[in-house]
């Protein structure tokens, strides 16, 4: 049963290393699980917890954040900021009952296509094992009869 579950995962990649690692995985025709949909950011430092929460709230079962290896950031040290945000976010998510493992941070250099592919496979399996997140959709205001727009004549 649980094996039928195909997680949907949003992946954030940086323009310089991890997105290129994904490109390399492609050019070298490596095969990996099709569950991750990537978003290209300029840098892992662009990662905003809002993006992660948005993805989880909108139906993703997991979020993968990738950046250049520490010391390799094309913007010097911005990946450390991603690391710090990730660690704090994980603490908060745990309190909210979202398994912190659903939000995974990893480093991949532009050359590490194979590692990138393997990381995706492993992460997909991990999320699959956790099961669907199934966060309830945002409640839409109920269709209650609303008073007509404030009309001129309503005013004395």
């Amino acid at each position: 049963m649980a094996n039928d579950f195909e997680p949907v995962i949003i992946g954030f990649t940086c323009n310089w290393c991890s997105y290129r690692a994904a490109d390399v995985a492609g050019t070298t025709r490596l095969k990996y699980a099709p569950n991750v949909r990537l978003i290209r950011l300029m840098c892992s430092g662009r990662i905003d917890p809002t993006f992660v929460l948005k993805a989880l709230a909108d139906g993703a079962d997991g979020v993968l954040i990738t950046g250049c290896h520490p010391g390799d950031c094309h913007y010097l040290e911005q990946n450390y900021k991603a690391l710090r945000r990730h660690r704090l976010l994980q603490r908060t998510l745990a309190q909210l009952g979202v398994e912190p493992e659903r939000v995974h941070l990893t480093w991949a250099s532009a050359a590490e296509g194979a590692i990138f592919a393997a990381t995706i496979d492993r992460f997909v399996e991990r999320v699959r094992a956790l099961g669907p997140l199934r966060w309830p959709a945002r409640p839409k205001p109920l269709p209650v009869a609303v008073a007509p727009e404030l009309a001129e004549e309503a005013l004395p």
Binding site: D48, P49, T50, L53, K54, L56, A57, P70, E77, Y80, K81, L83, R84, R85, R87, L88, L89, R91, T92, Q95, L96, G97, V98, R134, W135, P136, R138, P139, P141, L142, V144, A145, V146, A147, P148, L150, A154, L155, P156
Partner: protein, 330 residues
């Protein structure tokens, strides 16, 4: 005939009502220009009186409190129908506020804490029942819903007025505005606007001096020595949520040395107050190694409660899984 004014108190502490009364003489302007049609805290009124009113017959309703019970929801819908302008008044109605923190736990565990916890004297282990028989007949309680919702998650809302409670000077200004609109001297802001608040964050109004932020430790106030009276609290190691909280309060807390706890809610046009505060804190931490980062983060023992103290119910995830799971159909 004067236009009708209403105010209602759903799941909230009542502070909002007091805040309105706190506007001193301004309350007389309200009385002079409006006919108070329904205000259970200030005057006697029965639901049937409300039901009797025509749809749209109330010009403006200040609705405070979040939606916790079926009764809250019923009143929200009723007042929506009866009112031309529905204002989500105060943090509870807008973002869930403290009652919204209940969304971190399931209804059962919440009731358990309230009626069975160590701080409750309840030797008979009584629990509130939907109906109970008393000599006079059957009493019913409105059912507690699985999650706390904000007013705009239940009905459409025209204006939002944040604050826990909204500051008196802001209420006074809004009352002024309403009076002027009624007198035809001013226009209403666009529908959906936030009223009675600023357009930046609390730091904007905070007089404390600040520097480039390199956070090396976060402490509770009692763990710190005497505070510097002029320096930014965050820089002194206190978890101040001023940077991510909408301005409008005039930085009341930081002014007197208490960190901002976020009651004015999410910053203008931001989606999630907690996310904004988390990203700010994590960005400003001065550490690179995971162990060092964790060491500093350990200074925030309750991140969800810290970053979402007021805005949990209206955040992107709207609370914890425990509460939401109940709403799922198995």
């Amino acid at each position: 005939m004067k236009p009708k004014f209403a105010m209602y108190w759903a799941a909230s502490c009542g502070g909002c009502e007091i805040a309105v009364l706190n506007i001193d003489a301004k309350i007389l302007d309200l009385d002079a220009n409006f006919d108070v049609a329904f205000w259970p805290a200030a005057m006697d009124a029965k639901y049937k009186d409300l039901d009797a009113m025509a749809d749209g017959s109330i010009l403006v309703t200040l609705f405070n409190g979040s939606i916790r019970t079926a009764e809250n929801e019923h009143l929200a819908k009723t007042l929506r129908r009866k009112s031309k302008i529905l204002v989500a008044f105060g943090s509870c109605a807008n973002e869930g506020c403290i009652p919204g923190l209940a969304n971190l736990s399931s209804r059962e565990s919440m009731l358990e804490t309230a009626y069975g916890g160590p701080s409750t004297e309840n030797p008979a282990q009584l629990r509130p029942q939907p109906t109970s028989q008393v000599p006079e007949g059957a009493l019913t309680l409105p059912p507690v819903q699985p999650v706390v919702r904000t007013l705009d998650q239940v009905v459409e809302v025209d204006y939002h007025m944040p604050g826990c409670p909204p500051e008196s000077h802001q209420i006074a200004a809004v009352v002024d505005l309403l009076v002027q609109v009624v007198q035809g001297r001013a226009e209403l802001p666009p529908k959906g606007s936030v009223i009675g608040a600023g357009e930046s964050t609390v730091c904007d109004e905070c007089p404390r001096e600040r520097n480039v932020k390199h956070l090396t430790q976060l402490r509770r106030i009692q763990e710190l020595g005497p505070l510097d009276t002029t320096l930014c609290l965050l820089e002194q190691g206190l978890m101040c949520t001023g940077p991510a909280t909408r301005s409008g309060c005039d930085a009341r807390c930081p002014r007197v040395g208490a960190p901002c706890i976020g009651c004015y809610g999410v910053a203008p046009e931001a989606l999630d107050q907690g996310a904004r505060m988390m990203t700010a804190i994590a960005s400003a931490i001065d550490a690179k190694e995971p162990e060092a980062i964790d060491g500093i983060l350990d200074g925030i023992p309750d991140p969800a409660g810290t970053f979402y103290k007021f805005s949990l119910a209206h955040s992107l995830l709207r609370g914890g899984r425990a509460a939401h799971r109940e709403t799922e159909t198995p």
